[in-house]
Amino acid sequence: MRNAFFNAVFALAREDERIVLMVGDLGFRIVEGFMAERPKQFLNAGIAEQNMMSMAAGMALEGKIVFAYSIANFPTLRCLEQVRNDVCYHGARVAIFCSGGGFTYGSMGVTHHVTEDLAVTRAMPGLTVIAPGDPIEAACVPAAIIAHDGPFYVRLGKAGEPNIHAGPIDFQRGRAITVREGDDVSLIATGSMLLVATRAADRLKADGINARVLSMHTVKPLDLDAVEAAAAQTGVILTIEEHSIIGGLGAAVAEYLAERPGAGPRFKRLGVPSAFASEIGSQDHLLAHFGLTEAGVAQTAKQMLAS
């Protein structure tokens, strides 16, 4: 995902001199070629995320479109007020992007787990929040950023995730992509959990249950039409995210469902409880610990259908 996104940024930057790639002393073996090729469109801001974010806003206010990169929480939580005041309030064209979403850097410990970023960025006025579900989606995001005049936050995984979409997709900011059709249960996933959701849907299919899978790559603005259709057409909705159940995709869907007139579907948020991981382990280890696996999702879906 990370590489797909970077490559798309490099390609766009070659055509559009407004684009600047700013990194917080990260991007080893990814950015060196671009740095040499386009020094005026590149900056290593050092390990100083607060300064980086305000500088990104400053450059954007002078007409640049800045892609600001770091890993884990560093370009969001570390400099949240800079994001809020300097980037969002000024409507600066800064696209903040991080790799290492969720537990990508699991074994590195809690300081490198990113499980509140969607919540805090979703709360920022005017900020579009995107977590692509596979490399094909990730490659589409930079163009969507250029097409929309406003700030973005993009959460990426690492390198090496499989493609989930079979072919080209129609990627639009704020529009969910239906990955599996089905009317029994809806699995709404964002980011890395799209893979888990599609595999869970395949398991359910073997048991005669048709699950709809939505890639909710844009967490804000949320695709309310897709949520409404899922609520009207399927009796059960599960949201799945590698993120705290507080404030992220599940919360966004819950907020909509709670205020929606009429009887709602049965609904559950799957994600990380509001607790720091008590285990040390890889991404897979931690996801299994929190039940964020295809088996866990399929089982919850079945229990909810049976209840």
Partner: protein, 284 residues
């Protein structure tokens, strides 16, 4: 400082192993830990190894039997990505069983890839996001002063980490509050994540910057044990001022092919590099 208030050192430094032996052991252990787990940051461990060895064998007052003993000196590794070396030291002194080191970075371990306080005796605070250690240490030092305690706080920063503004906020604060119980040691290995420090954000003249902020600053070869010991046992350098030691180091120090090679910030020795590294560290 109220030195007379301080109880006897439970583990007198004279009874501890030599810092040179300890440093060699840490390097051997950390190269095995990171290679086993395919974990990053071996070069970061090697640049700080001699500093850790001198601190733990010659300077810090602590009791492995009582890791939370109130009068212990506090040590904070702000460059938490070099935690493997710190875990290795703590295991050498018996803060926890050496077997734990074999689980470093692996599923179900207690030892994560950044310094983690939870469940790990001897780790004061969790670090890993750079730029937190010195402000934390400053808070501890202020509390120590207010409570009129005699223990000291030592904090190691990396050089790239000095980009973070939070350090400079603490750097302003500590001299203003006359925190001479606080010592910062900068592992000045001249390399950060994406290249040379002088090419990313030059820090020179680094010691002068700390002096200008009101610290008593000294420079030292960060691999010279005698020089390190002389400085570290001599803090505070001036009463009423926090101390700063700019330690000139080599990233990857101790294994020739890792020295000044950015690759080993990211990857441990792999394949036949592991026996070569161990051979250079005197393991047959």
């Amino acid at each position: 400082m109220n030195d007379e208030k301080r109880p006897m050192n439970p583990l007198p430094t004279k009874q501890r192993q030599s810092s040179v032996d300890l440093a060699l052991q840490i390097r051997r252990t950390t190269v095995e830990m990171t290679s086993r787990a395919n974990a990053s940051h071996i070069a970061s461990c090697f640049s700080v190894t001699d500093i850790l060895a001198v601190l733990y064998s010659r300077v810090l007052v602590f009791d492995p039997q009582q890791p939370r003993w109130r009068d212990r000196d506090r040590f904070i590794l702000s460059k938490g990505h070099a935690c493997a070396a710190l875990y290795a030291v703590l295991a050498e002194f018996g803060f926890f069983p050496k077997e734990w080191l074999e689980t470093y970075y692996l599923d179900g371990s207690r030892l994560a890839g950044h310094a983690t306080h939870k469940g790990v005796p001897g780790i004061e605070v969790s670090t890993g996001a750079l730029g937190h250690g010195l402000p934390l240490a400053t808070g501890m030092a202020l509390a120590g002063k207010r409570d009129e305690r005699a223990h000291r706080i030592f904090c190691v920063l990396s050089d790239g980490e000095c980009d973070e503004g939070s350090n400079w906020e603490a750097a302003l604060f500590a001299p203003h509050h006359r925190l001479d119980n606080l010592t910062v040691i900068i592992d000045y290995n001249k390399i950060q994540s994406l290249g040379w420090v002088k090419d990313v954000i030059d820090l020179d003249p680094l010691a002068d910057k700390w002096r200008a902020f009101g610290w008593a600053a000294r420079e030292v070869d960060g691999h010279d044990h005698a020089a390190l010991e002389a400085l570290l046992t001599g803090v505070p350098f001036e009463a009423g001022r926090p101390s700063c030691i700019v330690a000139h180091t080599v990233k990857g120090k101790g294994v020739s092919f890792m020295e000044n090679n950015l690759q080993y910030h990211y990857t441990p020795p792999r394949g036949d590099e592991l026996p070569r590294a161990l051979a250079e560290l005197g393991v047959k």
